[in-house]
Amino acid sequence: MGLTGYLTVSAVLFTLGLVIFISRKNTIAILMGVELMLNAAALNFVAFARFTPSQASQLDGQIFAVFIILLAAAEAVVALAIALSVYKSLNQIGADKLASLKG
Protein backbone atom coordinates (compact mmCIF):
# COMPACT_ATOMS: atom_id res chain seq x y z
CA MET A 1 0.00 0.00 0.00
CA GLY A 2 1.23 3.44 -0.88
CA LEU A 3 1.41 6.62 1.07
CA THR A 4 -2.09 7.78 0.14
CA GLY A 5 -3.66 4.68 1.67
CA TYR A 6 -2.09 5.38 5.03
CA LEU A 7 -2.91 9.08 4.80
CA THR A 8 -6.54 8.27 4.04
CA VAL A 9 -6.82 5.93 7.02
CA SER A 10 -5.25 8.61 9.16
CA ALA A 11 -7.68 11.23 7.81
CA VAL A 12 -10.63 8.99 8.68
CA LEU A 13 -9.25 8.47 12.19
CA PHE A 14 -8.70 12.19 12.65
CA THR A 15 -12.26 12.90 11.53
CA LEU A 16 -13.63 10.32 13.94
CA GLY A 17 -11.67 11.95 16.74
CA LEU A 18 -12.97 15.36 15.71
CA VAL A 19 -16.56 14.09 15.65
CA ILE A 20 -16.14 12.61 19.13
CA PHE A 21 -14.52 15.81 20.31
CA ILE A 22 -17.41 18.02 19.23
CA SER A 23 -20.35 15.70 19.78
CA ARG A 24 -19.75 14.01 23.13
CA LYS A 25 -20.85 15.44 26.44
CA ASN A 26 -18.71 13.38 28.76
CA THR A 27 -15.25 14.80 29.45
CA ILE A 28 -13.60 11.38 29.32
CA ALA A 29 -15.20 10.66 25.94
CA ILE A 30 -13.77 13.97 24.70
CA LEU A 31 -10.38 12.77 25.93
CA MET A 32 -10.83 9.62 23.84
CA GLY A 33 -11.41 11.81 20.79
CA VAL A 34 -8.21 13.70 21.48
CA GLU A 35 -6.33 10.40 21.75
CA LEU A 36 -7.68 9.32 18.37
CA MET A 37 -6.58 12.60 16.78
CA LEU A 38 -3.09 12.30 18.26
CA ASN A 39 -2.85 8.74 16.99
CA ALA A 40 -3.83 9.86 13.49
CA ALA A 41 -1.07 12.48 13.56
CA ALA A 42 1.50 9.93 14.72
CA LEU A 43 0.42 7.52 11.98
CA ASN A 44 0.97 10.30 9.44
CA PHE A 45 4.47 10.93 10.76
CA VAL A 46 5.40 7.25 10.53
CA ALA A 47 3.94 6.91 7.04
CA PHE A 48 5.93 9.90 5.83
CA ALA A 49 9.06 8.51 7.47
CA ARG A 50 8.63 5.36 5.43
CA PHE A 51 7.67 6.81 2.07
CA THR A 52 9.34 10.23 1.96
CA PRO A 53 12.20 10.02 4.46
CA SER A 54 14.20 13.12 5.29
CA GLN A 55 17.75 13.52 4.07
CA ALA A 56 19.33 13.52 7.49
CA SER A 57 17.83 10.38 8.90
CA GLN A 58 15.31 7.73 7.94
CA LEU A 59 13.83 7.68 11.41
CA ASP A 60 12.93 11.32 12.11
CA GLY A 61 9.23 10.62 11.69
CA GLN A 62 9.36 7.72 14.10
CA ILE A 63 11.10 9.89 16.70
CA PHE A 64 8.28 12.40 16.36
CA ALA A 65 5.76 9.59 16.84
CA VAL A 66 7.54 8.54 20.05
CA PHE A 67 7.28 12.10 21.33
CA ILE A 68 3.60 12.25 20.38
CA ILE A 69 2.90 9.04 22.31
CA LEU A 70 4.71 10.37 25.39
CA LEU A 71 2.89 13.72 25.21
CA ALA A 72 -0.44 11.92 24.89
CA ALA A 73 0.34 9.86 27.97
CA ALA A 74 1.19 12.95 30.02
CA GLU A 75 -1.91 14.74 28.75
CA ALA A 76 -4.16 11.78 29.58
CA VAL A 77 -2.80 11.59 33.12
CA VAL A 78 -3.39 15.27 33.84
CA ALA A 79 -6.79 15.37 32.14
CA LEU A 80 -8.00 12.35 34.08
CA ALA A 81 -6.77 13.86 37.33
CA ILE A 82 -8.73 17.01 36.49
CA ALA A 83 -11.81 14.94 35.62
CA LEU A 84 -11.60 13.01 38.88
CA SER A 85 -11.18 16.10 41.01
CA VAL A 86 -14.06 17.84 39.18
CA TYR A 87 -16.19 14.77 39.76
CA LYS A 88 -15.28 14.82 43.43
CA SER A 89 -16.43 18.40 43.90
CA LEU A 90 -19.34 18.69 41.44
CA ASN A 91 -20.45 15.04 41.20
CA GLN A 92 -20.68 15.04 37.40
CA ILE A 93 -18.34 15.61 34.47
CA GLY A 94 -20.63 16.54 31.61
CA ALA A 95 -18.80 19.15 29.57
CA ASP A 96 -21.96 21.22 29.07
CA LYS A 97 -22.69 21.35 32.79
CA LEU A 98 -19.31 22.57 33.98
CA ALA A 99 -20.22 26.21 33.67
CA SER A 100 -18.97 27.71 36.91
CA LEU A 101 -15.46 28.91 37.60
CA LYS A 102 -14.10 28.46 41.11
CA GLY A 103 -16.82 25.92 41.77
Binding site: M1, L3, Y6, V12, L13, L16, R24, R50, V66
Partner: protein, 165 residues
Protein backbone atom coordinates in the same frame (compact mmCIF):
# COMPACT_ATOMS: atom_id res chain seq x y z
CA UNK B 1 -2.54 -11.28 -6.56
CA UNK B 2 -2.46 -9.43 -3.27
CA UNK B 3 0.62 -9.91 -1.17
CA UNK B 4 0.59 -10.51 2.53
CA UNK B 5 1.33 -6.84 3.48
CA UNK B 6 -1.61 -5.58 1.40
CA UNK B 7 -3.86 -8.17 3.02
CA UNK B 8 -2.77 -7.04 6.46
CA UNK B 9 -3.18 -3.39 5.45
CA UNK B 10 -6.81 -3.96 4.49
CA UNK B 11 -7.40 -6.05 7.60
CA UNK B 12 -6.04 -3.31 9.87
CA UNK B 13 -7.93 -0.64 7.92
CA UNK B 14 -11.24 -2.39 8.41
CA UNK B 15 -10.40 -3.05 12.04
CA UNK B 16 -9.36 0.52 12.84
CA UNK B 17 -12.15 2.29 10.97
CA UNK B 18 -14.92 -0.15 11.87
CA UNK B 19 -14.08 -0.20 15.54
CA UNK B 20 -13.38 3.53 15.45
CA UNK B 21 -17.00 4.01 14.38
CA UNK B 22 -18.03 2.08 17.50
CA UNK B 23 -15.84 4.38 19.59
CA UNK B 24 -17.48 7.40 18.05
CA UNK B 25 -21.12 6.35 18.05
CA UNK B 26 -21.66 3.83 20.82
CA UNK B 27 -24.07 5.00 23.47
CA UNK B 28 -22.31 3.12 26.21
CA UNK B 29 -19.15 4.95 27.22
CA UNK B 30 -17.50 1.84 28.60
CA UNK B 31 -18.03 0.09 25.28
CA UNK B 32 -16.36 3.03 23.56
CA UNK B 33 -13.39 2.72 25.90
CA UNK B 34 -12.95 -0.98 25.22
CA UNK B 35 -13.36 -0.42 21.47
CA UNK B 36 -10.62 2.23 21.62
CA UNK B 37 -8.34 -0.53 22.88
CA UNK B 38 -8.72 -2.42 19.59
CA UNK B 39 -8.27 0.73 17.52
CA UNK B 40 -4.95 1.33 19.25
CA UNK B 41 -3.93 -2.26 18.54
CA UNK B 42 -4.77 -1.75 14.86
CA UNK B 43 -2.58 1.35 14.74
CA UNK B 44 0.26 -0.68 16.24
CA UNK B 45 -0.28 -3.09 13.34
CA UNK B 46 0.10 -0.18 10.89
CA UNK B 47 3.36 0.73 12.58
CA UNK B 48 4.62 -2.80 12.03
CA UNK B 49 3.66 -2.59 8.35
CA UNK B 50 5.54 0.72 8.11
CA UNK B 51 8.71 -0.74 9.58
CA UNK B 52 8.44 0.75 13.04
CA UNK B 53 8.94 -2.25 15.29
CA UNK B 54 10.01 -0.28 18.37
CA UNK B 55 7.16 2.16 17.86
CA UNK B 56 4.59 -0.63 17.63
CA UNK B 57 5.72 -2.06 20.95
CA UNK B 58 5.71 1.40 22.54
CA UNK B 59 2.21 1.97 21.17
CA UNK B 60 0.91 -1.25 22.69
CA UNK B 61 2.67 -0.72 26.01
CA UNK B 62 1.95 2.97 26.54
CA UNK B 63 -1.40 3.39 24.78
CA UNK B 64 -3.16 0.05 25.06
CA UNK B 65 -1.55 -0.85 28.37
CA UNK B 66 -1.42 2.54 30.04
CA UNK B 67 -3.58 5.31 28.61
CA UNK B 68 -6.52 3.14 27.69
CA UNK B 69 -6.59 1.36 31.05
CA UNK B 70 -6.53 4.81 32.62
CA UNK B 71 -9.48 5.87 30.44
CA UNK B 72 -11.48 2.77 31.39
CA UNK B 73 -10.65 3.43 35.02
CA UNK B 74 -11.81 7.03 34.74
CA UNK B 75 -14.99 5.96 32.97
CA UNK B 76 -15.84 3.47 35.68
CA UNK B 77 -15.12 5.94 38.47
CA UNK B 78 -16.99 8.93 37.12
CA UNK B 79 -19.88 8.04 34.86
CA UNK B 80 -23.11 6.32 35.62
CA UNK B 81 -22.56 3.09 33.73
CA UNK B 82 -25.79 1.45 34.81
CA UNK B 83 -27.85 3.95 32.84
CA UNK B 84 -25.68 4.87 29.87
CA UNK B 85 -28.49 6.47 27.92
CA UNK B 86 -28.52 9.59 30.04
CA UNK B 87 -25.32 11.35 29.10
CA UNK B 88 -23.62 10.39 25.95
CA UNK B 89 -24.23 11.57 22.42
CA UNK B 90 -25.11 15.19 22.27
CA UNK B 91 -28.13 16.63 20.50
CA UNK B 92 -26.20 18.27 17.66
CA UNK B 93 -25.80 14.96 15.84
CA UNK B 94 -26.78 16.18 12.38
CA UNK B 95 -24.54 19.24 12.48
CA UNK B 96 -21.63 17.16 13.72
CA UNK B 97 -22.21 14.62 10.96
CA UNK B 98 -22.21 17.31 8.27
CA UNK B 99 -19.07 18.92 9.68
CA UNK B 100 -17.25 15.60 9.97
CA UNK B 101 -18.14 14.37 6.49
CA UNK B 102 -17.24 17.64 4.78
CA UNK B 103 -13.94 17.80 6.67
CA UNK B 104 -13.17 14.22 5.65
CA UNK B 105 -13.98 14.92 2.00
CA UNK B 106 -11.70 17.96 2.09
CA UNK B 107 -8.84 15.94 3.60
CA UNK B 108 -9.20 13.09 1.11
CA UNK B 109 -9.28 15.54 -1.79
CA UNK B 110 -6.09 17.19 -0.55
CA UNK B 111 -4.39 13.83 -0.05
CA UNK B 112 -5.30 12.59 -3.51
CA UNK B 113 -4.49 15.75 -5.45
CA UNK B 114 -1.15 16.54 -3.84
CA UNK B 115 1.91 15.29 -5.67
CA UNK B 116 3.87 13.64 -2.87
CA UNK B 117 7.63 13.23 -3.42
CA UNK B 118 7.53 9.49 -2.83
CA UNK B 119 10.74 7.53 -2.74
CA UNK B 120 10.84 3.79 -3.14
CA UNK B 121 10.90 2.42 0.41
CA UNK B 122 14.05 0.59 1.33
CA UNK B 123 14.39 -2.66 3.15
CA UNK B 124 12.96 -2.78 6.63
CA UNK B 125 15.54 -3.03 9.36
CA UNK B 126 15.42 -3.12 13.13
CA UNK B 127 14.99 0.43 14.37
CA UNK B 128 15.51 0.24 18.13
CA UNK B 129 19.24 0.86 18.07
CA UNK B 130 18.98 3.81 15.67
CA UNK B 131 16.10 5.38 17.60
CA UNK B 132 18.10 5.11 20.81
CA UNK B 133 21.11 6.72 19.18
CA UNK B 134 18.99 9.53 17.71
CA UNK B 135 17.27 10.17 21.05
CA UNK B 136 20.58 10.53 22.85
CA UNK B 137 22.42 12.52 20.18
CA UNK B 138 20.39 14.69 17.80
CA UNK B 139 17.22 14.80 19.85
CA UNK B 140 18.68 14.92 23.34
CA UNK B 141 17.15 18.30 24.20
CA UNK B 142 13.54 17.33 23.33
CA UNK B 143 14.17 14.04 25.13
CA UNK B 144 15.21 15.83 28.33
CA UNK B 145 12.34 18.30 28.03
CA UNK B 146 9.83 15.50 27.64
CA UNK B 147 11.20 13.64 30.63
CA UNK B 148 10.82 16.82 32.66
CA UNK B 149 7.28 17.15 31.31
CA UNK B 150 6.46 13.62 32.43
CA UNK B 151 7.76 14.43 35.91
CA UNK B 152 5.62 17.58 35.96
CA UNK B 153 2.58 15.56 34.84
CA UNK B 154 3.08 13.03 37.64
CA UNK B 155 3.45 15.71 40.31
CA UNK B 156 0.58 17.83 39.00
CA UNK B 157 -1.84 14.93 38.79
CA UNK B 158 -1.00 13.95 42.35
CA UNK B 159 -1.55 17.51 43.54
CA UNK B 160 -4.83 17.81 41.64
CA UNK B 161 -6.28 14.63 43.05
CA UNK B 162 -5.06 15.20 46.58
CA UNK B 163 -6.47 18.72 46.84
CA UNK B 164 -10.01 17.51 47.44
CA UNK B 165 -9.16 15.87 50.77
Amino acid sequence: MMGIPELFFYFFTIMVIGIGLIVAFSRNLLRSAFALFFVLFGIAGFYVLLGGDFLAVVQIMVYAGGVNVLLIFGTMLTSDISSPKTSNLSFQGALTFIAGVSFLILLVLIINTTNWPIQVPGEMAATTKDIGRLLLKEYVLPFEIISFLLLAAIVSSLVLVKKGD
